[in-house]
């Protein structure tokens, strides 16, 4: 059953901050329900495997819960959330917690099945062949490697711009840079990817 009251994310966060337990529970459920998939996608594209991405996503939402009383609606909730997600992911990557996971990653989660849907449901009729799946998986792996090779800030900018479709002001706030610097950062990232992924441009999967 959906929420009885239409509220902005920031209003839900204020309910989580100051509501009675039943209201807080509802607010937390609403926010998790809305952002669980985007946050998991973001973290998955940083750590490359589902399980550690979900572990980190839980840590992100746990931090939201813990920090609710100090929350001030001075920024968009999504900006604040992805700033937390970025910090959680970078801390995990830097302290080595994810090293083993990344070394173990052999693109097991980077195939069509990673979307959670059976291959046959994702591909047009007649294309659900093993060969097609292999090509698609190889292309996804190539894209993953190219993005992974970007400098950290460029990588984060691409993930937030291309995959989270956040606006420039939000991304700039998450990455703590100016909008102008962000636009240049994105250009340099896409320019690197343009050269790196040129072989994929001529032949779409």
């Amino acid at each position: 059953m959906g929420p009885a009251v239409a509220r902005t994310d920031e209003e839900w966060m204020l309910v989580l901050k100051a509501g009675v337990p039943r209201e807080r529970e509802e607010a937390f459920d609403v926010l998790v329900g809305k952002y669980r998939t985007p946050v998991i996608h973001f973290l998955y594209r940083l750590v490359h495997r589902r399980e550690p991405a979900e572990d980190l996503a839980q840590e992100v939402f746990l931090r939201v819960y813990r920090a609710r009383k100090s929350y001030q609606p001075t920024a968009k909730f999504s900006t604040w959330l992805f700033r937390i997600a970025t910090n959680v992911a970078l801390n995990a990557l830097r302290d080595g917690r994810m090293r083993h996971e990344r070394e173990m990653s052999i693109d097991a989660d980077t195939g069509p099945e990673a979307s959670g849907l059976p291959l046959a449901e994702r591909l047009p009729d007649g294309m659900a062949t093993a060969e097609q799946a292999l090509v698609e998986r190889e292309r996804a792996a190539e894209i993953r490697r190219a993005v992974e090779e970007l400098p950290e800030k460029q990588r984060l900018a691409v993930l937030l711009h291309k995959y989270q479709e956040m606006d420039y002001a939000e991304i700039a706030e998450v990455l703590e840079c100016s909008e102008s610097a962000l636009k240049s950062l994105l250009f340099r990232a896409y320019e690197t990817l343009r050269v790196r992924l040129r072989p994929l441009l001529g032949a779409r999967a």
């Binding site: 009675v20 337990p21 807080r24 529970e25 937390f28 459920d29 998790v32 329900g33 669980r36 998939t37 998991i40 996608h41 998955y44 594209r45 589902r50 991405a53 979900e54 996503a57 839980q58 939402f61 746990l62 931090r63 819960y65 813990r66 920090a67 609710r68 009383k69 100090s70 980077t110 069509p112 990673a114 979307s115 959670g116 849907l117 698609e136 292309r139 996804a140 894209i143 993953r144 993005v147 691409v158 711009h161 291309k162 995959y163 420039y168 102008s180 636009k183 240049s184 250009f187 340099r188 896409y190 320019e191 990817l193 343009r194 992924l197 040129r198 994929l200 441009l201 779409r204 999967a205």
Partner: protein, 179 residues
């Protein structure tokens, strides 16, 4: 290309979010410069290709696992204090203060004001001279609470989160419920 077009204009142009005043000159340049035109089209294509990297659907158990972690954290209040003896001592001091206030005999001196947040570990205070009652919870006698007066500490997200947990644990105890 950056010699021909401003770097910071190219991605907004591809997104269709370039300011109209900037868009005209970019379009004019692309009409006249085949190299830039080809490069912009390749950039547009590569941004499209990036969409072939799929995300992952959350596990069906994600929400249940998260709720369990939140509930566990709330329920671990006593364990959390046990790990931080200084905080436990501060809480004990707060209990002593609460008992002292509860047993205060009216008709004498006005009792000190209670902190607004129930359960905030307030250290016992010596009776201050008349007219010097603080309006905020006093911090002397507890290093942990004294840090609340430090603006640098107030910017420390991790520490503040721990304060939040302290408040929450007491709040949950009073309400007899957990999220």
């Amino acid at each position: 290309m950056s010699e021909h077009l401003k770097e910071e204009n190219i991605v907004p142009f591809l997104d269709g979010r370039l300011d109209p005043a900037e868009r005209g000159p970019v379009e004019a340049h692309l009409a006249a410069c085949a190299a830039c035109r080809a490069q912009v089209e390749e950039l547009r294509a590569v941004v499209g290709v990036l969409g072939e990297w799929p995300g992952v659907a959350p596990s069906p158990s994600f929400d249940a696992a998260l709720r369990a972690r939140v509930a566990q954290e709330a329920e671990q209040g006593s364990g959390w204090f046990a790990l931080r003896p200084a905080w436990g001592a501060a809480l004990a001091a707060g209990v002593v203060l609460a008992v002292a206030v509860a047993s205060w005999q009216p008709g004498e001196v006005e009792p000190p004001p209670l902190p607004e947040a129930p359960g905030v570990a307030v250290a016992p205070q010596p009776s201050p001279p008349a007219g010097t009652q603080p309006t905020q919870p006093e911090t002397n006698g507890s290093d942990e609470l004294a840090v609340l007066d430090n603006p640098e500490v107030l910017d420390n997200f991790k520490l503040l989160s721990e304060f939040d947990i302290l408040f929450e644990v007491e709040e949950e105890k009073e309400e007899g419920k957990t999220l």
